[in-house]
């Protein structure tokens, strides 16, 4: 069983509040939600919609098919009625001109006026929806008390009751037992992961859709005694992060592709000064300003090579909000272990999408700093870039060992960090830095496998396409088709063991990505020499749905 409610209208009409209250009511009643946000780059007006999909079992993705449309505008009905099921319903105010037999015009506005406050009309809608899905009214009342107090709360409770009285029970919903869950979006999950990992300094410049990470971490500054600084630009943001990291703080920044572009020179700096940094790129379609509030997977090739010349680095893409928490904490440890920049690739779909899941297990998070102490360094002048077998030099924090100083230099340098021009030393330093890639290759994780172990058709993707893959592959499985999938999380360096093994078994391989040319497909070809000819590429700024993947595969099977 799962249902899908679509709330649509202009920005600023209050549908986010209605959606937020409903989300809480549904999750408190013991159901799992997947919340999907589709919005325009404007503060007021336009056509935006939220989809609230819920079920008695965990959900991993949104879906096209809708059971209920809550229309804040006539345009919403026109745009989305094609996806409404036959048994579905459209809830709209009485003054809308909607010619659809499934429409149910209800006096939300009239009731709100009667109650003496037009603002409560959203709560009237909540009441009507709660009834139709047989959700517990007392839970809805409890949720309202978190939003309002005093007279306004009383008024909203009345509005809820009046809305509840407007409709009848319509949808069958198995009673779910109450359980301890959290409902969190990708940006918040990254922020929480960073806090668990002991991030004490964050610097960033606001850029949709990456701003949510900064917002969340900023909300905990006082509680944890940490600092979030809004930089004058993204160049400053990453340079500040590198300064703080050099001085011993765990530090991070978050942005989208445009901001990441401005950070490129500093990414090279992180590489040559061997200073850890975690950089989150929440992708949106480009180039340049592109589609600011939409989703994409267009930055893969860019971030694995951003900066002139070559540096050791790691790139981790996020497949779900659940994984985002753990992967962010892991990114900090890997950045410290190899003294490298680690890029986390998220996207708008994941960043803004809320998912219900069991609470994170914080005891799984270990903070590993890999710092050297005075004893290890000894009495001799400290060599920050000591040539070692694995390329990793013992790292200390300035000011912690009396008598020992060191410098980091964006110029090529010797073991002490001093500027050099000798070709021989240059080779030694370049080889020392790039040697770290051997270790990183041992630490990368193979992609997740879904579906058939002996697939006739193997789907290959990365990042947030995971949820849609999971549902599409499960559907093929129910139909007895041998379809399997690999979903990459770590993308650089590319883990190649599983893809090589499954490619041998599969009769056919199709890559599914959110970019124009099939960037992962090209990367796999480059790293494994396995031809990746069939590619489903989508670059309209919208996420792949499980239905769309299913249809596209059906067409070619």
């Amino acid at each position: 069983m799962n249902y899908n409610i679509l709330l649509g209208g202009a920005a600023g009409q209050g549908m986010n509040t209605v959606g937020g209250v409903l989300e809480k009511v549904i999750t408190r009643a013991g159901y799992y939600i997947f919340f999907h946000k589709d919005y325009m780059s404007r503060v007021r007006g336009g056509h935006n919609f939220n989809q609230l999909r819920f079920s008695d079992t965990p959900l991993y993705t949104h879906q096209e098919k809708i059971d209920m449309i809550i229309a804040f505008s006539e345009e919403t009905v026109e745009k989305h009625r094609k996806d409404l099921t036959d048994n579905g319903i459209i809830l709209c105010p009485t003054d809308f001109n909607v010619a659809d037999p499934r429409a149910r015009a209800l006096p939300f506005k009239e009731i709100a006026k009667e109650l003496g406050n037009v603002k409560v009309f959203g709560t009237v809608i909540v009441g009507a929806v709660v009834k139709m899905f047989k959700l517990p009214l007392e839970i809805a009342e409890g949720v309202l008390s978190e939003y309002f107090s005093g007279e306004i709360l009383k008024l909203n409770r009345e509005a809820l009751q009046r809305g509840y009285g407007l409709t009848e029970e319509k949808f069958e919903l198995p009673v779910s037992e109450l359980k301890d869950t959290i409902t969190i979006n990708g940006n918040q999950a990254v922020g929480l992961g960073a806090l668990a990992a002991g991030c004490t300094f964050f610097s960033g410049y606001p850029m949709t859709p990456g701003t949510g990470v900064m917002n969340y971490i900023a909300s905990k500054q006082k509680a944890l005694g940490i600092v979030v600084e809004q930089a004058e630009d993204e160049i400053a943001a990453l340079n500040m992060v590198l300064g703080a990291s050099f001085a011993g703080a765990r530090a991070m920044t978050s942005t989208s592709g445009g901001g990441y572009s401005l950070m490129v020179e500093a990414i090279g700096l992180a590489g040559i000064i061997e200073t850890p940094a975690v950089i989150v790129n929440v992708q949106r379609p480009g180039p340049a300003t592109g589609l600011p509030t939409r989703t994409a997977q267009g930055d893969l090739k860019f971030v694995i090579s951003a900066a002139q010349d070559e540096i050791p680095r790691m790139v981790i893409s996020l497949r779900s909000a659940e994984e985002a928490f753990y992967q962010t904490a892991r990114a900090f440890n890997l950045a410290d272990k190899y003294q490298i920049p680690v890029t986390i690739l998220s996207d708008q779909y994941l960043a803004d999408g809320g998912v219900t899941m069991p609470p994170y297990d914080f005891s799984k998070i270990k903070i590993e700093r890999y710092l050297a102490d005075a004893e290890e360094i000894g009495e001799a002048p400290y060599r920050r870039y000591k040539i070692t077998e694995d390329g990793i030099s013992p790292r200390i924090i300035p000011g912690t060992i009396p008598g020992q100083v060191f410098m980091v230099d964006s110029d090529e340098h010797d073991e002490f960090g001093h500027i050099i021009e000798s070709g021989e030393l240059r080779n030694q330093m370049m080889e020392k830095r790039m040697k770290k890639m051997d270790g990183i290759r041992q630490d990368v994780r193979e992609p997740w496998h879904l579906g058939s172990e002996n697939p006739e058709l193997l789907l290959v993707g990365w990042g947030s396409v995971y949820g849609a893959f999971k549902e599409a592959v499960e559907r093929f499985g129910r139909e007895g088709k041998e379809v399997g999938a690999l979903v990459f999380g770590d993308v650089w360096p590319l883990p190649i063991r599983k893809i090589t093994a499954y490619a041998k078994k599969a009769k056919r391989i199709i890559t599914v990505e959110g970019n124009y040319s099939g960037q992962l497909a090209e990367l796999i070809q480059q790293e494994t020499c396995i031809p990746m000819k069939e590619r489903f590429n989508k670059y309209d700024g919208r996420a792949w749905s499980h239905e769309e993947i299913y249809r596209r595969v059906q067409e070619v099977l």
Binding site: A196, A197, T200, G225, V227, G243, A249, P402, V405, M407
Partner: protein, 285 residues
């Protein structure tokens, strides 16, 4: 023998013999020793350029970053460890040109950093193009018809932006330069010292002699707490060039405005426990 208990300069540098940078390095070395700081407690930051090589030549900690980007890492360092003394030595192209945006916003932050700008009114390392402070009509290979852009006045800009310490000195006046450096390093908040410095290779106009004949010390009774007067004085440039503290005021620094930073534990010393953050999951229940 303990390592690095006193500041010393290295004997070899990449600077031209007679360069103004030597005077600045000598002054900095003795100021750091006179203030009884220890090398491991000091970080000298810079961007790129001839002046920006300073961290290479003094035995303190150093962050020789990217062109134009001396200020942001310095800011990050100070926030991460408030006990480190953070000093910047960089050129006027690095600071006012490539890094202009950071200059403006670091003034707004008023963070405890002493910023020494080696201002020779020319690009040295790239061999003689106009810098943001090059006077109009100055002829270079690029500006073959003479500079047509108006020069940037760093002192006036810093005063109007609300910097809490704005001074100018001259690399050829060691005693004065040391006095300005000391005052800047001990100032609470962001302190700018624009240091006039000849470039013997590429600036044949603003020479040692040019500055020597023009610079004068502002009188002892000059009131550097008067912002309007400071601004007026900052516009004086020509036959006479004033040096000294133009403007100085007491106001809360960045660190002081974040109480958990000024009163709390050093960020870099924190030993976070992942379980500390577990309670935040309540935000999502």
């Amino acid at each position: 023998m303990m390592l690095n208990t006193r500041f010393e300069q290295s004997k070899e540098t990449a600077w031209c013999p007679g360069c103004g940078n030597f005077g600045i390095m000598n002054a900095l070395e003795s100021v750091l020793n006179e203030l009884e700081l220890k090398p491991h407690e000091v970080v000298i930051c810079s961007g790129i350029g001839q002046a920006a090589k300073m961290p290479q030549y003094i035995n303190a900690n150093g962050f020789n970053g990217l062109h134009g980007r001396a200020l942001p890492p310095a800011t990050g360092i100070k926030i991460a460890n408030k006990n480190l003394k953070v000093i910047i030595n960089s050129g006027e192209g690095d600071t006012y040109g490539e890094g202009g945006n950071h200059f403006i916003h670091t003034i707004r932050r008023n963070i405890d950093i002493a910023h020494f700008v080696h201002n020779n009114q020319i690009y040295g390392l790239t061999k003689g193009q106009a810098s943001p402070t090059t006077d109009m009509r100055f002829v270079t290979e690029v500006q073959a018809g003479g500079v047509i852009l108006e020069p940037l006045n760093p002192v006036a800009l810093a005063i109007t932006m609300g910097a809490s310490f704005v001074a100018r000195s001259f690399s050829g006046d060691r005693a004065h330069l040391k006095e300005m450096m000391k005052a800047a390093i001990t100032h609470k908040g962001y302190a700018l010292v624009d240091i006039l410095q000849p470039c013997i290779s590429f600036n044949k106009v603003n020479t040692f002699k040019f500055y020597k004949e023009r610079v004068y010390h502002m009188k002892e009774d000059y009131d550097y707490a008067n912002k309007a007067q400071a601004f007026e004085r900052s516009l004086e440039w020509g036959d006479r060039i004033p040096i000294g503290i133009f403007y100085r005021t007491e106001k809360p620094s960045y660190m002081e405005k974040i109480h958990h930073l000024s009163d709390g534990e050093i960020l870099a010393d924190k030993k976070p426990d992942p379980m500390e953050a577990e309670k935040f999951m309540d935000d999502f229940r």
